[in-house]
């Protein structure tokens, strides 16, 4: 991938009515990259996007396009285009005129406009809809018009704010694939906002996990999933068992009333840590002295696997397995040192609050 920095955010902060919404965002976005902002509702994703689009001016910090500071440049002079959260099509114009809007402003020749609009409508599979009123289109079709309209100006960067949020699951999956294809075909940068972690993982080159106005982690989907930097990211990306632990020395951690070998090092002696183990990394085995033993509290069929809740002492473990043990039976919980992810304790209590809040909602986000 070309590693040209196309957009840089440097120490961006923003407060609305005294409430700090962004707290020092630092981020580089590269040419032809598919970047996704991922985070819970209200974490500042849209605000960050709007700062890039020019609709919000940051209180402090700089926005750079190709190395040039653009803080004061109004939206209509920026070389980015946006697909808005609620499409924001022009209700008084038909499909053709909606897509042609940007071209008309450039005073292009009518024949050139017609050719470009046709090309864009082809790209989003809306050929033949030119004369339709946009108010009579389905959600998916409106979304396509919004994408065609934004792409018509040939932006170097396309901003998309939860573009698939209003679509049903089936259509969303199709559009995810289409969007990714469009991005690769046009070779432009996509900055994509979502709070659906699965969407973020499947589409992105780079995922930016945000919470409470701060960036938690930036990395490839694999990095984010396999090496979450803290318990928040671990919890937000996929499901996790998070247990309090104490690091005794390098590669040796105590949690759940026992000592375990792990692959992490570089912690202080007796540093309190969070231990994260993915439910799918755990295997259920017959109870024995070598593993943690617990009582099966519930078994729920989830389609691909069973979700098994096992209580061992005061800890409740979530385990994903294709085989279902009997409720009420005693089983062993087994995992390898590689499955143990050690994380520094999070500093702010706010992060914990956000986590607590998520626990309630997150049940349905991953299968």
């Amino acid at each position: 991938m070309d590693k040209n920095k196309i957009i840089e955010l440097k120490g961006i902060s923003k407060a609305f009515n005294g409430e700090q919404v962004l707290k020092g965002i630092d981020l580089d976005i590269h040419d032809k990259e598919f970047v996704t902002f991922l985070g819970p509702s209200g974490c500042g994703k849209t605000t960050t996007l709007r700062i890039i689009g020019g609709f919000v001016t940051p209180d402090s910090g700089d926005v750079l396009f190709n190395g040039k500071r653009v803080n004061q440049v109004p939206p209509y002079k920026r070389s980015v285009n946006t697909v808005f959260q609620k499409y924001a099509l022009f209700p008084h114009l038909n499909v053709y005129e909606n897509v042609a809007f940007g071209l008309r402003l450039k005073k292009m020749k009518e024949t050139e406009i017609a050719a470009k609009v046709a090309e864009m409508l082809d790209l989003v599979n809306l050929r033949g809809y030119e004369k339709r009123s946009v108010t009579l289109l389905s959600g998916g079709q409106q979304q396509r018009v919004a994408i065609a309209r934004a792409l018509c100006n040939e932006p170097k960067v396309l901003l998309l704010d939860e573009p698939l949020g209003a679509l049903d699951l089936q259509l969303r999956k199709e559009m995810q694939i289409e969007l990714k294809k469009i991005q690769q075909r046009l070779e432009i940068t996509f900055i994509y906002v979502t709070h659906d972690q699965e969407e973020a993982l499947t589409m992105s080159d780079t995922v930016v996990v945000m919470n409470g106005g701060e960036i938690q982690q930036i990395g490839t989907p694999q990095d984010i999933y396999n090496e979450p930097i803290n318990a928040f990211v671990a919890k937000f990306i996929g499901e996790s068992n998070i247990l309090p632990g104490i690091m005794h020395e390098d590669y040796k951690v105590e949690f759940a009333g026992d000592n375990f070998v792990c692959v992490d090092k570089g912690f202080r002696h007796l540093e309190p840590v969070d231990v994260v183990i993915r439910p799918e990394d755990i295997t259920i085995c017959p109870p024995s002295d070598k593993v943690i033993n617990g009582l099966v509290e519930s078994v729920i069929f989830k389609g691909v696997h069973y979700e098994i809740m096992v209580r061992a002492y005061s800890d409740l473990w979530k385990i994903h397995s294709t085989k279902a043990p009997e409720v009420g039976s005693v089983v062993g919980i087994d995992f390898t040192p590689e499955d143990i992810h050690i994380m520094r304790k999070m500093e702010s209590s706010q992060d914990y609050a956000a986590l607590e809040h998520m626990n309630g909602e997150e049940a349905g986000t991953i299968g």
Binding site: G53, F55, P74, P75, Y76, K77, N81, T82, F84, Q85, K86, A88, L89, F90, P91, H92, F101, G102, L105, K106, S133, T135, R149, A150, C152, N153
Partner: protein, 303 residues
Amino acid sequence: MAWMIIFMIVPLLLIAVFAFTTTVPCDRDGNRLDEEEAAEIIAEEQAYWEENEIPLDERESAVVEKTIFTVQNILEVNKYMPTMLNSIWMALVATLICLLIGYPLAFMISRMHFVSQKMMLMLVMLPMWMNFLLRTYAWMTLLERNGLINRFFGLFGIGPFEMINTQGAVILGMIYNYLPYMILPLYSVMTKIDNTTIEAAQDLGAGRFNVLGRIIVPLSAPGITSGITAVFIPSVSTFIISRMLGGGTNMLIGDLIDLQFLGNAYNPNLGSAISLVLMVFILLCMSITNAFDNEDKEGGMLL
């Protein structure tokens, strides 16, 4: 529904009947007499009655009035064309100024915080809750030769200015009285314009003027037409404003009509004819603006 129609149609029919008829003197057999003949006969009768001291309830005139169809009234309206055109001109000026003031104001209000919106609307409507005559009277006292405004200028040693009894004063009165009718329909369509629609236009490269011309004006077109109609129609037919602020120097079509019914020029047939012509004219204007509006299709409701 049927009652509604009757309720609306009957007065209109009455006016139409009046407009196309006139009363002429006839003898008791229904033969038409000319005015002089009739006057002569009446004078003779009168003299005879007086002389013989005939009681009032026994006096029966040989001359009776008969209502006949005529287009004379309508043709006569032609005489008042200058007044008609003057009224239309002044109403147009007032409507245009109302639009120029009301449009940006309505847009500003529609972009305000919800609570401020309600407050601004209250302010706009506040004068409407005061009696029409009273608020026009208030302007009289302001504009008078030794009214408040001239006294204020007097403090600086300038003036007094001739303000009342001018065309300007009449137009001012129209604007003051009818501006809310412009702002309200405009506001009601403008609140429906989403901020993100405007942002989308900016995002695609539209500056201030393009946003206005390509987004806001087309989307508020229904409000513009209903605002124009709502200001123009009462302005063109007003008579109180011109009487109070125009001092009779600027006769408007409304004054003329008023004069035919309640004034000393008593002639309801002519008055009806003038109103009818005015109504036809207004209907024409409305159909033109509506056709203009339909071209922009879609949009909101007519208020």
